[in-house]
Symmetry: C2
Subunit: 344 residues, 2 copies
């Protein structure tokens, strides 16, 4: 019997198709990337081909915009928002608009073209995550920004235009609808129960085990109960914290470890699938400390049906999260330093 | 300068990328379909290959499950929900679920394999729309159902598994989140202003003209102000009506005409693109008569970015709706009866 499941935070019903459940082998493999390393502006030695760098990790004290970096941040060449300008809203009849002001940056996670999170050394991924947090904190100083959207597109099918390992951030003068809804759902739960809904979910996932994928001292990864797509995965800090900016130095190696393991399990289980991950955090403004709980949501990108689902808001998940978690637990992540095909 | 625009009903902010605006020729054409008509279970003469028919338009009085029909409705062979069962919800810790009960049907819009709405005779499309409404009304008699999701996927890239012209309906024991949010947004507007928000939008679009695509006595088609994707198009009845079930017999030819014209403009402007359309209607239950306004939302399916957008709830539209409306107004829809490649 198929099931309708309701997300306890977001309030969305999802059909879980238990009977025609699809296995990992039912999903098409990510197509090999055709990206030419020769032309990649993000590789070490081609620093002049990007806009001037905003920040970098340079253990050897090398000068900005020269080789010798481990992680590098540059403005997005085709930024969707402009950094200059005011954020006044104007209403014309029914229609509300605001100047498209915001920051759009690229975090280059490695100097190497083929070193993706699933296979990079954990210390390299830790440097990239440290930079995520530094950019989060730095952009918090700009009073115009209300929210930071931090995400990674892996694979051309997931809209990554280059094969080089990069993440992106977009600092926004508004709070996106999805983030507002999550905040409101968590706030309602807190008002009713006096507890963080995410902390409760962590307890239930630890008790039930069926959707658990992996965990360490500081973080837990599981397939959420009302997963909106096959192999959706959440990674949460076990200790309550509302904002990604609260990520402590001492937590960064644990986060690198679990993120690398989770993506390594995707890699092994699903054949290097295209995927996205998005950091969900409290907004820069507001008092979400008690009720919100930052986390990462990851999801592979297999199917072409998301268009209909975006339009209707109705999702059909053909792999129950309990099955997905079991497949991912059984998968063996690749060791660090594995080369898995240029840009793949 | 890019713009952030807010949807007045749904409350979603969208980035409208005004500077790097993309033209119709920037979008990939829909790939030719490789569907074999020889094996199509929906073609006339192969009635035995579907599940037994639920309803049909048979002008010549022919028997069920035999040739001679104009429109035919059959259960979906791989239904995502089951028609038998109760709709009791059960809560386990944080997790709410319900048996996956519902109807999932296929509306075969034509006996001809290659006769799609953009090119079919208006009378044929009117018969299909008449059947939409009949199924809407019939399923309303089942007390378990709260909402009817009625949609069309055109083109393999838009998840249409067969090239034969079909629509689908899913009758649900819950109201999908997107529909609830639209209802709530419209209800808030009504409480504040004492008017239907959709009626106000129609007036503003008629006054401004810039986003208008086409209209007739009964219906209007325009690109919405905060369009979430390029070439998103809404079709609304000009007379206020909350539920699709209220579609009057006398309105059906007008609806067929404007839907055919709108899809014909997609066809001409964008080279027979893959597309979806979804009927947005008030739920079966509830008292939305004053504040909700049924309509159709259509959107072509070009890009691969919707996965990220589904996960983040944040949309970047690279063709401003004013540009999209102008391109669509300038396009010349194909005449009825044009054959445009098998199943394309």
């Amino acid at each position: 019997m198929p099931e309708l499941r309701k997300d306890p935070i977001f309030g969305r019903w999802v059909i879980i198709a238990t009977e025609r459940a699809q296995r990992p082998s039912d999903y098409a493999r990510g197509a090999p990337e055709a990206d030419a390393q020769e032309a990649c502006p993000f590789c070490e030695g081609r620093e002049a081909e990007t806009l001037p760098e905003i920040a970098a990790v340079r253990a050897n004290g090398s000068a900005p915009n020269t080789p010798g970096w481990q992680v590098r941040v540059v403005p997005h060449k085709y930024a969707v928002l402009r950094i200059e300008g005011a954020t006044d809203a104007t209403l014309s009849g029914m229609h509300l608009k605001m100047g498209g002001v915001g920051a759009h940056e690229v975090i280059i996670e490695s100097p190497r073209h083929d070193e993706h999170p699933a296979v990079m050394p954990p210390e390299q991924l830790a440097s990239a995550l440290w930079m995520y947090r530094e950019r989060y904190r730095d952009l918090n100083r700009d009073q115009r920004f209300k929210y930071l959207l931090l995400f990674r597109n892996h694979g051309r099918f997931a809209a990554a235009h280059v094969a080089h390992p990069i993440s992106q951030l977009i600092a926004l003068p508004i709070v996106p609808k999805r983030a507002s809804e999550e905040l409101e759902g968590a706030q309602r739960f807190f008002a009713r129960e006096g507890r963080c809904v995410f902390c409760d979910i962590i307890r239930q996932e630890q008790a039930e085990q069926t959707r658990l994928v992996c965990q360490n001292d500081d973080f837990i990864a599981f397939a959420p109960y009302a997963a909106w797509c096959p192999f959706e995965l959440w990674i949460l800090p076990k200790a309550h914290a509302a904002s990604f900016g609260q990520l402590g130095d001492e937590q960064i190696p644990s986060l690198a470890k679990i993120l690398r393991e989770a993506l390594g399990r995707y890699h092994a289980c699903l054949g290097n699938p295209p995927y996205h991950y998005v950091v969900h955090t409290a907004p820069y403004t507001g008092r979400a400390d008690h009720y919100y709980h930052w986390h990462i949501e990851a999801f592979p990108r297999f199917s072409l049906v998301a268009g209909f689902e975006s339009g209707s808001g109705f999702y059909i998940n053909t792999t129950p999260p309990e099955d997905a978690a079991r497949y991912l637990r059984e998968a063996v992540p690749p060791p660090a330093g594995t080369v898995h095909g240029r840009g793949a």
